[in-house]
């Protein structure tokens, strides 16, 4: 029934989460579980790749808000990359670009992680 999935990938010390499908109130718990898993494994540099994310609801956006504070306290960050225009619009309407690093490509986000460590 769930048309949402999270893929785990590692890229140079950054945990990349590939989101696929629709992130809404029903599927938000899956992303929560994914981020909790990263936390449990002490991986606080998290990159959300939204290339295949078709839709996000307000409940989906809430997941990022729920964890960003804890992750930043541990010296990490959640960065969001490669969102489709329609999905980016939802982030943008709420003002997420003012709170999160949202980049056009995964590489740009990885670079930002690099910059952050230096």
């Amino acid at each position: 029934m769930s048309n949402f999935s999270v893929g785990f990938r590692s890229s140079g010390g950054v945990q990349v989460l590939d989101l696929q499908g629709e992130l809404d109130a029903h599927t938000a718990s899956e992303l929560e579980a994914a981020i909790q898993k990263c936390q449990a494994e002490q991986r606080y540099r998290i990159l959300i790749n939204g290339e295949n994310l078709q839709y996000i609801s307000s409940a989906g956006l809430g997941v990022f808000m729920a964890y960003i504070e804890e992750v930043r306290e541990e010296g990490g960050d959640i960065k969001i990359a490669a969102l489709q225009p329609k999905v980016y619009n939802v982030f943008d309407l709420l003002g997420f670009p003012m709170l999160f690093d949202i980049t056009e490509s995964e590489e740009a986000a990885l670079d930002k992680f690099e910059d952050g460590t230096e």
């Binding site: 109130a25 609801s57 307000s58 409940a59 956006l61 809430g62 997941v63 808000m65 729920a66 504070e69 329609k86 939802v90 309407l93 709420l94 003002g95 997420f96 003012m98 709170l99």
Partner: protein, 749 residues
Amino acid sequence: MSAELLTKLPSSDRWARIESRAGRVVLLLVAVVGYVVAAAYHAVVFLNSLPPALGLEIGYNVVVLASFAALWLLLSHVFRRRQPSPARTFWTTLLLGVLFVGVGWGLAFIGRPADLTVASAGFDYETGVPLTLATVVKMNLLGPLEVAFAFIILLRFRDLVLFKRTRTSERNWHLMLVLMSLAALFMFMKAPQAEWHWFDGLVMVPAVVFMVINSFRLSWIVYLSFREKMITIGLTLLLLAMLVVGMSVGGDSLLPGASTYLSYYSQPLNLFKTLALVFGILYCTTAFLSLLFHLPTTGDFQRKADEMAAMHSLTHLVSQVFDSERLLTTIAASPVDAGTANATWLAVPDVQSGSLRPRIVATHNIDPAQVQELVDTTAIYQELVSNGEPILLEQASADHRVTARPGEGLGSLLVLPLIARDEMLGALFAAREVAYGFEKDDVEAMTVFAAQAALALDNARLFEERVEKERLARELSIAREVQRKLLPQHLPALDGLSIAASSVAAQEVGGDYYDLYRLDDRRLSFIVADVSGKGTSAAFYMAEMQGIYKAVTPIAPSPCDFLIHANRALTGSLEKNVFISVLYGILDLEDESLTLARAGHCPAATINLNGEARFMRTKGLGLGLDTGEIFDRTLVAEKVRLEPGDVFVLYTDGVVESRSPDGEEYGYDRLLDTLREHRHEDADELHASLLEDLNRFIGRPQYSDDMTLLVLKWHGIDLAVASEQPETATEGHAPSPAVVDESPETSVP
């Protein structure tokens, strides 16, 4: 062939049962007339002192047999099957026997010949003609009396033989009767004094075989109590004695010459009577012996029957209890009450700690603490979960999971899974004080009980779920009512402005909010808000937002001030993952302007009379995303001059994100298109047109998200009023953005 015929009859008793009253009267007539005719015949023969003609004799025999056949049918109606009570059957038969012997004995002394041996009981040896009147009287009284008694014995024993009848037992019984009748008929017209031929004995063999077979139909014995058995033993013994001594073949000691009289009366009847009495003796003998042998096991059988009865009644009770607590207690108590176990306890999966760690919810005859101490319930439960079969520990103390030592009241342990609809609902632990305490049948009975108990538990659970569901539905409908009252009941009126608004929740309650408030004669504030998520939690924050709006808008009406206050007010009360997007605006008649600020919300759509449309997308974070500094810094409001015909549409994301059956989103462009098409309508009509178009697009009555729509249309101020108003721009432009930089630092009081 007759056997085939009989087995074909569904209830072969039916042919012998005369139901109608008229039928019985006819039978009675046949019997009485036959009897009178027979008596007359004997009188005539006696008076003539000569053997009758062959034709007359045949006629006599036919009449007699018909008469007694009628008597049999009549008696079988009188003794038709009632609730078989063995003791009563033997008792009444014995009483009738005593009565019969008494009467017969009295009759035997009527005109008793001086010397019986000489004249062979008063009949001429050569011709068989009665020699005295007394003989005629006696043969006509004693003979039928004897046959009647034989009939009664058969009919009374029928109830016992056919106890718990099957097709076979019914067939055997009727075959016996038919074969007895056939053997009797073989004696037709045979002279009583004629020599017996070996062939005569042979015809009786089949009848005797079936008599023996029927003698072993004794299943009624099993169900008798000890006392009943003792009584019945006495009765069978007495009846047996009476039959053997009084009426056995040729035994004329109690009724002198009775058999002889009957043999002169009718040979077939005599043989039938003899066979019936022999069957009576056989049956009494087997019954007596069987009763004797069953005596010692009566106690065990009774105990088992009691256990089964107790289990059955408890099963019945269990299925009626819907109170979970009581049900668990009843289930735990049942095996002890039924005497199958000495102590029991019931374990169910603990929801908090997962299904593998059970919780003991009810105990009987044992302390919960004691259970913990003596048995590793968890380990046994886990084994039960993994294979689902009952566990029987014959020597409980030898098992590593049982810490009880011998003598601590835990000799053997039987653990049964309670499974309903493929789900294990719990486990029933039953302990006996002694090792090897559970027999095979105990395990079977307990297994059946466990299945019933599981069903009852399942029922109770479903029942509770239903009650809970109904309660929740009631609560939610109350919540919906409450939330409906949080939305404006009346829209305020302002000169030159028409307003229309609506809000629907996808579930019973939702997170959408809209409101309008008339600050004074010239100013109107309005708000549309959307709490992230759906349902109950969103509804609570919606209520909080309503409170903030009502409280803050009168004291800090300007859009940026309001939103900054609202954001601070919400800090600390919102969950981390919850935020509220808000559109808030002020319409001011004084300068005919509308100022709008957007806190993360979908931008308001606006259109002018010429159809120039756009979204008012100012910067601003959603409430609750940031506690202060960034929020305050980024927030910007937009102020537009109003022109007559200007329309402002505020909505929540449920509108633009609504999908058609194909999965296509309604979208921002379509909203503007529809707006353009209907821009000449006033707010009410425009609002209705937008919803209509939206519903047509969705194509089904179910909304997947909360949807709120607020339409404001500026018509311009009446000329009379307008003349007093300061000059306003009259260009036919779309409301052009006139961003007013409201610096938060300065605007917050």
